[in-house]
C-alpha cells in the first residue's frame, strides 16, 4: 500500500521574513497592525476585494506573519483604490489603507510588480510632473503612462483625449505653479536630507 502523498501548502515559519511586519508597523499608520482579530470587516466592505488574489484580511494576516514575497507580489495592493472604507470600519482601528500604501511603496522599492503594470508607472510619471512644475498635469501624465505600458491603447484613448480637448478640459500647455517651481525640488531634496538625519 502506497503512503499518503503530501506536500507543504504554505511556508514553514523559517521561510518567512521575521522583520517584515515590524518594518511596516513602524511607518505612520502602521502602528495597529498587530491588533487585527481577523474579523474580515475590511474584506467584506472593500469594493474591489472580488478581484483580489488575497483579500485585505488575508493581506493583514500575511504581512503580520512575514509572507513578504507573496504580499508584495499580490495584485491586492494595486487594486486598492484608497476609498478608506476599511479604515473607517475596522473595529481595531487599523489604518488598512495606509498599510496598503506602505506595501505599494515597498513593492516599488523592491521592484516586485507585474511588468508594464500601469499603476506604478502612473505614480512615477505623476511624481516627475510635480517635481518639474509644482503641479500635476493630467493629460501628459496619463499619455506617458499609456505610452510606457500599452502603447497600442493610445489609439483607443485618443477619442477621449480629443473630446476633453474640445471641451477645454485638457490643457495643451503645461500647467505651472505661480512663483518659483524650483522651490519644490529643493523642498523634496531637503526631505531626503532630513530623513537621513533622523534615521
Amino acid at each position: 500500500m502506497s503512503s499518503l502523498q503530501i506536500q507543504v501548502r504554505i511556508k514553514h515559519q523559517e521561510e518567512l521574513d521575521p522583520d517584515f511586519a515590524n518594518s511596516i508597523a513602524a511607518l505612520p499608520g502602521g502602528e495597529n497592525l498587530s491588533r487585527c482579530i481577523q474579523c474580515g470587516t475590511c474584506s467584506s466592505t472593500c469594493p474591489v476585494s472580488l478581484y483580489m488574489d488575497y483579500t485585505p484580511r488575508r493581506i493583514i494576516a500575511m504581512t503580520r506573519a512575514g509572507f513578504k514575497q507573496e504580499v508584495l507580489a499580490s495584485n491586492t495592493i494595486w487594486l486598492c483604490a484608497s476609498c478608506y472604507e476599511c479604515t473607517v470600519d475596522c473595529p481595531r482601528e487599523i489604518k488598512v489603507t495606509d498599510i496598503m500604501y506602505a506595501l505599494k511603496r515597498r513593492a516599488m522599492e523592491e521592484k516586485v510588480y507585474p511588468k508594464r503594470f500601469p499603476t506604478p508607472v502612473l505614480a512615477k510619471e505623476f511624481f516627475k510632473s510635480v517635481l518639474k512644475t509644482g503641479r500635476s498635469n493630467e493629460g501628459l501624465t496619463v499619455t506617458w503612462m499609456i505610452l510606457k505600458t500599452a502603447p497600442l491603447n493610445m489609439l483607443k484613448q485618443m477619442g477621449l483625449g480629443l473630446k476633453l480637448l474640445l471641451r477645454g478640459r485638457m490643457a495643451l500647455g503645461v500647467e505651472k505653479m505661480e512663483g518659483d517651481p524650483t522651490q519644490i525640488r529643493r523642498l523634496m531634496e531637503q526631505v531626503e536630507v532630513e530623513e537621513k538625519k533622523t534615521h
Partner: protein
C-alpha cells in the same frame, strides 16, 4: 471668517467646470475667497504611493503658504477636490500625531523659507455652504427653482472618509439638503459614499468601469434624472466613460453627471457658460429645469 481657495490640479484640467462654477457661486453669494497664491499639487493618491513623506511635505507647503495670509483670524482653506481635501487634512492630523514626521516636514519647510504652525482649517465647500453660509441664504439666492429635478447626491469616498467631521460618514446629508434648498428633490439611494473606482478606471479599467456603472445604474433605478458630484475624478469616471459602459455592459445608461456647484449655479440663474455646462459630455439639457 477668512477664506482662501485651493483649486488643486484637476480643477485646472478635467474638472475645469467645477472651478468655474464654484467661483461663480462664491461670487453670487458674496463670498470673498481668492485663490491661494503660489499653490502646488497636494501630493494626492499617486504621490503617496511613491514617497509618503514627500507627499506630506508637498501638502504642508500649501498650508504654510495659507498660514502666511493669517490675519487676526485663522484662514479657512477651501479644498473642493476630494483628494486634496483628504491629503491636506491628513497632513494636519499626521503632523500632530507623529513627532518624527512633524520634525522632518518642519525642517524641510524651513530650508525653503517656510513655517507651518498648524492653524489653517481645511474645509470642503459642502461644509462651507451648509454650515457657514446656511441654507436660508442659499434659498434666498435661488431665482430658478429646480422643479422636477431628481438628484442622486454622490459624495464619493474621500470627502467623507476618513476625516470629515461636518457630515455623517455612512449616510451624509449636506449635499441632499443643498439640492432640496434649490427646489430639486434629493433621491434617497444607498450608494452615496461607495467608491467610483478612482484611478482604477485608468489603470485596471475592467474593475473601474464596473464600479462607476454600478453607481449610475442604481441612481437611475431610484428615479434620479441627474447625479451631483463633489469630486473631479468621480465626475470624470462617471460621465466620460458612459459611452464605453454602454458598449461593455450592453446597457442604455445615459445619466447627466454634474458638479453640485453647477446645479447651484443653474438655480441661481447664472449663465450656462459661466458654470461650465458646455464642458459636459452628457448634456444636462435633458434634465428638468437644467436647460
Amino acid at each position: 471668517m477668512r477664506y482662501l481657495y485651493y483649486p488643486g490640479c484637476s480643477l485646472k484640467g478635467t474638472g475645469k467646470a467645477y472651478d468655474e462654477s464654484l467661483v461663480a457661486v462664491f461670487d453670487k453669494l458674496g463670498m470673498d475667497a481668492k485663490e491661494l497664491p503660489g499653490w502646488n499639487c497636494c501630493g494626492a493618491t499617486a504621490y503617496m504611493s511613491v514617497d509618503e513623506t514627500k507627499a506630506f511635505a508637498l501638502a504642508a507647503r500649501n498650508l504654510a503658504l495659507a498660514e502666511q495670509e493669517n490675519g487676526s483670524d485663522p484662514i479657512h482653506l477651501i479644498a473642493p477636490c476630494a483628494a486634496c481635501y483628504l491629503v491636506l487634512n491628513k497632513v494636519q492630523k499626521y503632523m500632530a500625531e507623529y513627532g518624527h514626521l512633524r520634525e522632518v516636514i518642519a525642517n524641510s519647510l524651513k530650508a525653503v523659507g517656510l513655517n507651518y504652525h498648524g492653524t489653517v482649517k481645511v474645509r470642503h465647500p459642502l461644509d462651507v455652504f451648509v454650515n457657514d453660509i446656511g441654507l436660508d441664504k442659499i434659498k434666498a439666492a435661488v431665482s430658478h427653482p429646480l422643479k422636477g429635478l431628481k438628484v442622486a447626491s454622490y459624495y464619493g469616498c474621500q470627502v467623507v472618509r476618513p476625516y470629515a467631521e461636518f457630515d455623517d460618514q455612512y449616510n451624509p446629508q449636506t449635499m441632499d439638503q443643498l439640492m432640496n434648498a434649490l427646489g430639486a428633490d434629493a433621491v434617497d439611494w444607498p450608494l452615496k459614499t461607495r467608491c467610483c473606482g478612482g484611478t482604477l478606471t485608468g489603470t485596471v479599467e475592467e474593475a473601474g468601469l464596473r464600479m462607476s456603472y454600478i453607481l449610475l445604474k442604481e441612481a437611475s433605478k431610484r428615479g434620479a434624472n441627474i447625479m451631483a458630484t463633489a469630486c473631479p475624478l468621480c465626475q470624470f469616471n462617471l460621465e466620460c466613460y458612459q459611452g464605453k459602459m454602454r458598449g461593455t455592459f450592453g446597457d442604455s445608461i445615459d445619466l447627466p453627471v454634474a458638479f453640485f456647484t453647477q446645479i447651484m449655479g443653474r438655480a441661481f440663474g447664472l449663465e450656462a457658460k459661466r458654470i461650465g455646462l458646455q464642458r459636459l459630455f452628457v448634456p444636462v439639457k435633458a434634465a428638468p429645469a437644467m436647460a
